[in-house]
Each structure stands twice: as C-alpha cells, then as structure tokens.
Amino acid sequence: MDNTVSRRRFLGTIAAVGAGTAATSTAVNAENHPPGWSGTQRVEKIATTCEMCFWRCGVLANVADGKVVRLEGNPDHPLTKGRLCARGNAGTSLLYDPDRLKFPLLRTGKRGEGQFRRISWNEALDFLASRLKAIAVEHGPESVALFPHGLSARFFSTLMKAYGTPNSAEPSFAQCRGPREVGYTLTFGRELGSPEPLDLEESRLIVLIGSHLGENVFTSQITAFATALSRGAKVIAVDPRFSTAASKADWWLPIRPGTDIALLLAWMNVLIAEGLHDQEYITRYAQGFNELATHVREFTPEWAAAITQLPAAQIRDTARAMGAAKPAVVVHPGRHVTWYGDDTQRARAMAILTALLGSWGRKGGIFLPTPIPKGAFDLPPFPDPPRGRADGAGTRYPLASEELGVTNGLVDATVTGKPYPIKAWIVYGQNVLESIPEPQKTLKAIDALDLMVVVDVLPVEQINYADLVLPEATYLERYDSPSIVTTARQPFVSVRFPACDPLYESKPGWWIAKETAKRLGLDAWFPWNTPDEHLATIIAPMDINGEELRARGAVAFPGRPYLDDRAADSESPFPTGSGKIELFSRELENLGADPLPRYTPVEDPPAGYLRLIYGRAPVHSFARTQNNEVLNALMAENEAWLSTRSATDLGLREGDRVVLENTDGVRSLPVRVKVTEGIRQDCAYLVHGFGQRSKGLHRAFKRGASDTGLMTRVKVDPLMGGTGMRVNFVRVVKQTTGI
C-alpha cells in the first residue's frame, strides 16, 4: 500500500507558510519518490485540501523544485482516505493553466468589452478602498453586496460585515442546497450540511430523487455508494433520465418532471396504510403523525400514478421495499435541489418520509453531526448596518438564511433599486453569470452598478464586466480558513496549506481581504498577522497539535453519529420548537404555508418544446473546470440528450449539431445531439457549465451549450427565495450551417 508517506516535519517558521512558501524540503528516498520524475528532483509531500469542487478531500501535493508535479489522495484524510476524483487528480492543470489571471486589472473600455490595463496591487487595493469609502459616504455601506463562495470567502465576509453591509449571498443557498436545509430544519430541527451525513455504507436501500451519484461525484460519497452496492444495498433511482445511478438501480422510476411530491405522498400513503412505518420511533420522537396520516390518506399510488406517469404497482412495490429495509434507508436529500419553486415543500416531504422510516439518527440512515469546538477571535462587534438586508432574506423570504442570503434577491434589488439601491458588487470564488439563472437579468444588474469587483482565478466571462479584477492564487498556492466538518461519521478539521508559491502576481484571498481592511481602517477585524496565527486561534480549543495537523492535513475526533449514542443526553436530539420531529409544521402553518406538503400541478411543455433538465459530469465542477487541459480533453463539450422518439420526429441523428431555443427566443451555442432511449420524451438534458463565452478561456470558449443561458425563467420558492430552474422549455433547431 502506498501509505508510507514520509511526513513532512514542519520545521519552517510560521511566517514561511504565510508567505505561501513550501518550507523545508526533505530529501527524496526511494519510498516516496514518484516514478516518472527525474531522480535529481527533491520531492516533498505537502498535505492540503482539494478545491476542484467544494467537497474538500484531502490531497498530498508532491512538490519538486517548487513545482507541484503530482497530486494524490491523502491516506490520512478521514473522509477520503487516499482517493481523489478525476478533477482532484487534475488540479495541477488549473495551477499551470496559461489562461490564468496573472495581474490586477483595471477596466479601460466599456463594460463587457474586455479592455483592461495591468496595474499593481497597491494601485488596485487603493482604488478598491477609495471607491468603497466613497460609496459608503454617498449611498451607505449597505449598498455594497458580496457574492462569496468557498473557504476563503470567510475572510471577505468578515471584511464586509466590518465595513457595515448586511448584503452577502452565496449561490449555495438560493441556487443549490437552501430548500433542503430549510425543509429538514423545519422537520428535524437541524440542517443536513455538507458533506451530507449519510450512512450509505450501512444502508440497505438508497433512494435517489434526482440525485445522479456517479455523474455528480464527491469522492467519499461515491466510495460509500459503491460500497453499499457491493454489499447488496438496493437502489431506487427517481430521475427522468437514465443516469449512471439509474443503471445500477433495482428500480428506475422515470418520473414526469416536477411531480416528485406526488410520488413522496403516495409512498407515505402506502407506508402508513400498510403499517410499514416505524411506529415506535414516531411515537417516541415525532409529533403530528395523526394529521399526516389523515393528510396522505387520499394520496394513493393510483392517484400518484396519474400525475407522475409511473405505474401504481411500482410505487407500491418501492414503498414496500423501503418499509422492509427500514431504518437502514437513506433517502438522499440531494444537493442541487432548486427545481420547481416548491422545493422547500419537496424537501419537507423527503424529510417526513425519512422520519416515517425511522432512519434519522439510525444506522444505515442519516447520522447526527458531532460538533467540535472552534476557537474564535476577540473581535470588536460588527457595526449595525444602517438598513436591513436588501435581498428579502428573513422578510420577503421568511425562511431564507440570513447568513447565506439570497443571491437572486440581491440581483433583483440591484435592478429595481428596491428596497434601496445596490451600487457595488464584490464577487469572490464564483461566477455570477453561470451560478445564478437569468443571466440576462444579472447583466442588467451589473449595468446599474458603480463598481464591480471580481476576485477570480480564471478569466471567466464575468471579468469582462468588472471594473477591477483581482487575480487570486489557486487552492494549491494559498492558505484557507480551516474546514471544520461535523457531518462525518468522525468529525474532523482539515486545512488548505499552500503547496507552492503563488504564480504570477496572484495573491491568496486572505491577503486580499486583510490588505483591503487595512486601507479601510478595519484592521481591528483582522487581528492576526499570518495564516499560522489565524490557524492557531481557530484550532486552540481542539486539543490538537498544529504540527500534527500540518503534517497530516486533517485530524479527526471521535464521533457520536447515532441516536443511541445520545440516549443519556438531557437535550433533545431534535432541536425543533417542540423538541420533536415535526411531521406537521406549526411554523409553516403560522406563515400561512402548507403545514404538510401538498402537490401543486406543474406545467407541461408547450407543443414542440421539451423541458430543459440539466446535471453534472464526473469530470467537471460547475462551470469551473471546462478550461482544464486534462478534463477538457476528457469532455470538451456537452451533448443535448434527446429521446429516440424526439430525435426521429425532428429528423436528427446522433452527433448532429443543433441549437436549443427557449420559449423566450433565447438560443444556445451549437451543441451535438445524443440520441438515447435513456431520457423521457418530454425532456432535453444538458450537463451544466458549458457554452462559455469568455475568449480568455482558450479551451472552453464556445464549446457546447450553456443551460444557465437558457434559463430566462425561474420559479422562486416563496419560503426561502431559491430559484426553481427546471421550469424552462426548449425547442431543438437543426443547425445546417457552420458554427
């Protein structure tokens, strides 16, 4: 086994890491010298954390002569144990991508023209600070909005809170996991978090509703899924498309899109009607069962069959399979779950199903997070923002997270100037034109700004609209705020340590935030001088040794994942208002919403149109990796999946070039057709993240079609503000001429 990693004894000073320097080099020995590399190179292994996606796997960076020559999984990482996905293995191609942003840039041409002048960091940060000061005076600090994402985003969040704005919003809430965190919190009193605390290895039945594990890859979750498969766990895959997961499933339910709540209600109906639910667990931990039982009585499999277009017998069989496997059933809560605007209610239905099966807190179900203590700085209190949030979090969207915010709410406020004008955006670690739907509206919002600042690694399309572009160091070149994961079987802390110096003039996020703070007179909120001081404070109460953490990259603690582990606790494991699992939600009732989930009919595609659905490919993350040399070679563009029937009707053959045109007349770039039986006839499918329109990305430019570009409509979840994005319809237009 390749576990004989020679641990880097970290001898260098704390400041050396701060400067992003790979400190001392240990001599190569035959054990750890990777093959294929020159024997004269001195190879050192630096434990760090992957950021090719946001799962945060443990990486060992093999560094020779200051160059990262090979990434491999960190065998000591409690979650990933030496494994990395394709993207994780391809991280050096991001680090050495010649297209990277290299210097701070100040816009010279019009917005969108992509004309810039190279400036120094001093000039860049002085410019930023002076503009922020002026905006605070003229419009108030609350007119500045932050769009953060990722670990280093925390430094920018601190900066913006200190500056005095409440307006910060991450797409991970309103465009991704928000509805499920709200829906599960309403039910169990706590959110799921990331990574999801799913006891897949021990489960006997895995229920996937629109989760395409395998194409959507997170290393440890795939490991657990595959382990479950090899142990004979059964799989129910509910998906309009025959996904990789569906190809492994015992039951594939090609559901009519948007009708999942009907299916979930029918499953509950069968479980309760046939007494297959976990009555003991419900009696002990839950309230509202009688209301639920009455509510679902009419939602029979026959009722649902008409709506979902699934056979009633199949609905009944799958419910019985769940009943037989309980409580070792994982109803996978999904990740990107903003689909039809009723997403919180769908999440509620999944949570209630989970409760009926007694699987929350039980072996083979969903396990409980184990908190670990985290150190904090003694910061001055943040100033009270002059006005409340502009995005409606907590007000217009009563259940939206005020910590994570509603990105689309900020876009709306920027466009309308209501409740008050937003004058500046700072975008960090995300691409607002790909992560937020209705990009046409996003561009309109950007148009209304006095200042747009983008901190990024690659010249993605949004930089062309920025006034100021700040090149960030990649994850392999920077320290990041430690990642504290409580939702694993064993909670752990891991750190992203720099494996090499930042290339060009790129700078780590922490440095950019801290230097800006300095210029704004906000030093007091950045009371540490180096990343190591920062780290030392955060891990102070953890009873671990910083050296050990640095050598191993991650340190785990004992976990208490099951309800049985908590039997002696005085506090309820379900921190809801009632201290019970709330099958019936008073909180929703008080908001005038359905206290029990209800199916609301979805629109069918207009004649000649197909519903646009989208998802992931294993070799790409979001719209972040399409320019990566290695990953691009494996998948340079997406394909539009069409059913054999649709393709025949349209006279299309596999590989034909088409454009997709939505009901608002917006067209995609040309895309190849994949003709397959593996998709419902009423749908077209694209892998997300392609069709990018930035010339600066030499490999990704204009390859494939962008799903986001075709999302000119969304259905906003009234409870939490998330954008339902599966409500767009496209027709397929054959491309007879060249691109």
């Binding site: 086994m1 093959p35 494994r83 990395l84 190809s247 290695v630 397959t676």
Partner: protein, 243 residues
C-alpha cells in the same frame, strides 16, 4: 514468480474517470491520450427497460501478447512477472504493436513519438505501492494483486467470484485484467467492446524470424528512420491475424 492481475468490479465502477486522470498524472500522459480508458456502453433496451455498463480498458499484460510478437525492434517484451513492458530507448514508434493489440491498449506519445501503455505501474510496484488507478479509484472498484497468492483479493475475485476476462472464441491471448460483477453487465460490455483479432503483417509468420533481426540490426546501426519507413510501407499490406 508473481502472476499479477487486476480486477475491475463493474458493479461498483461509476465511470468517474479518476483512474484515467490519476494515471495521466502519474505517467505524464499528454492530455487527450490515456493508458487507462473508461468507456460507457450505449444504453440498450426500450424505455423504460434499459441497461448500460462501463468498461475500464487498459493493457491486459496478456499471457500470449501479440504486441510482443509484432514489435520489430524488441522494445516490447514480457517480464518474468508477466508484465509487458516497452523499452522506450528501443521503440522506433512504428506502431505495429498498436495494430496487434486486440484491446487497443497502446498509443504513440505525440511528444516522445514512442509507444506507451499501462504496465501495472511497475515502478510503483517496485517500491511497494499499488498502481495509481487502484489507489485513487473513488468507488474502490479496482483490485490489484498476485494470482499466485490465495489470500489476495484478486485470487478470490477470479477463482471464487468468477471474474471474467474479455476474451472471445476468436481472440484468446490470456488477458490478466478481469471484470467482476453481474453477468448481464459484463455481457453488455463484451457486446459493446469485444477484443478484435490482432492485425499483424501479411507476412506475419515469417517476419518475426526474418525481419526482426534485420530491424534490430537497423536499430543497432541507428538506421531507425529507414526501419520506420520500411515498416510503415509494409504495414499497408496488413491483414487480420485469424482471417
């Protein structure tokens, strides 16, 4: 002597391609080329009764490797442990072995102009590590070990669980890469990606006796260019081994 084998469990493999990229990174395989390839079969059946499978293809380190037979320069050879190696210093990049390999496991590196392929990460094995693809496989779907060792995972999977080789009645070269998982899944893969009969030179019978020494002499005399030209010409007259 060890008899190395690799088993891929097709039930577990999710086609994530981590193995491909880890291998690329380990061996400096240029983007767009691969020593280990992951291919999905077309989806078969009629909606909604469908099936599909994944095939992870690489050099099988065959017991009777036609590539060794085909190599005019002696660059491709088989070690006592069964691993088929390419000595890059001897490879003339003629590509005969590409035609000979029933599994299309080889490629010519566009930078070095030499042939490259999977060698079970021999250099890693020598330092006690497992092949890069096995180490990184997100699904733990890949197993590596010694078929002579009754306690190894691969022994159990091959002899107790009936892992299969991708062989047909026409192509039997003794591959040492096995596939575990349900029969139906393996059948799908076999139907989609069967090994093809090795294509050797028309003069297949004679050439290895007569021409190989010639080329070796040419290589020795550094007339590599001529040798390549000569064989490229000959290659146009190829035919299937068995037909």
């Amino acid at each position: 002597m060890a008899r190395y084998a690799m088993v891929t469990d097709l039930t577990k493999c999710v086609a994530c391609q981590a193995c491909t990229v880890a291998c690329n990174a380990e061996w400096g395989v240029p983007a767009g080329y691969a020593r280990t390839r992951v291919r999905s079969t077309p989806i078969s059946g009629t909606f909604p009764h469908l099936a599909s499978g994944v095939y992870v293809a690489q050099c099988n380190q065959c017991d009777r490797p036609p590539c060794v037979e085909a190599c005019p320069s002696g660059a491709t050879s088989q070690g006592a442990n069964g691993i088929v190696e390419v000595d890059k210093s001897l490879c003339i990049g003629c590509g005969f072995c590409l035609d000979a390999c029933p599994y299309d496991a080889r490629y010519i590196n566009p930078v070095t102009k030499k042939v490259d392929k999977c060698d079970f990460c021999l250099a890693r094995l020598e330092r006690g590590a497992e092949p890069a693809c096995v180490t990184t496989c997100t699904a733990h779907a890949k197993y590596f070990g010694d078929l002579e060792d009754r306690h190894s995972d691969v022994f159990k999977m091959v002899y107790a669980m009936g892992a299969r080789r991708m062989e047909t009645s026409r192509v039997r070269v003794g591959p040492n890469v096995y596939y575990a998982g349900e029969q139906a899944r393996a059948d799908l893969v076999m139907a989609a990606f069967p090994p093809r009969p090795p294509r050797l030179l028309a003069a297949g019978e004679a050439w290895s006796r007569v021409l190989k020494p010639l080329v070796l002499a040419a290589v020795g005399a550094t007339f590599v260019g001529q040798a390549v030209a000569f064989f490229n010409q000959l290659r146009n007259g190829e035919k299937d081994f068995e037909d």
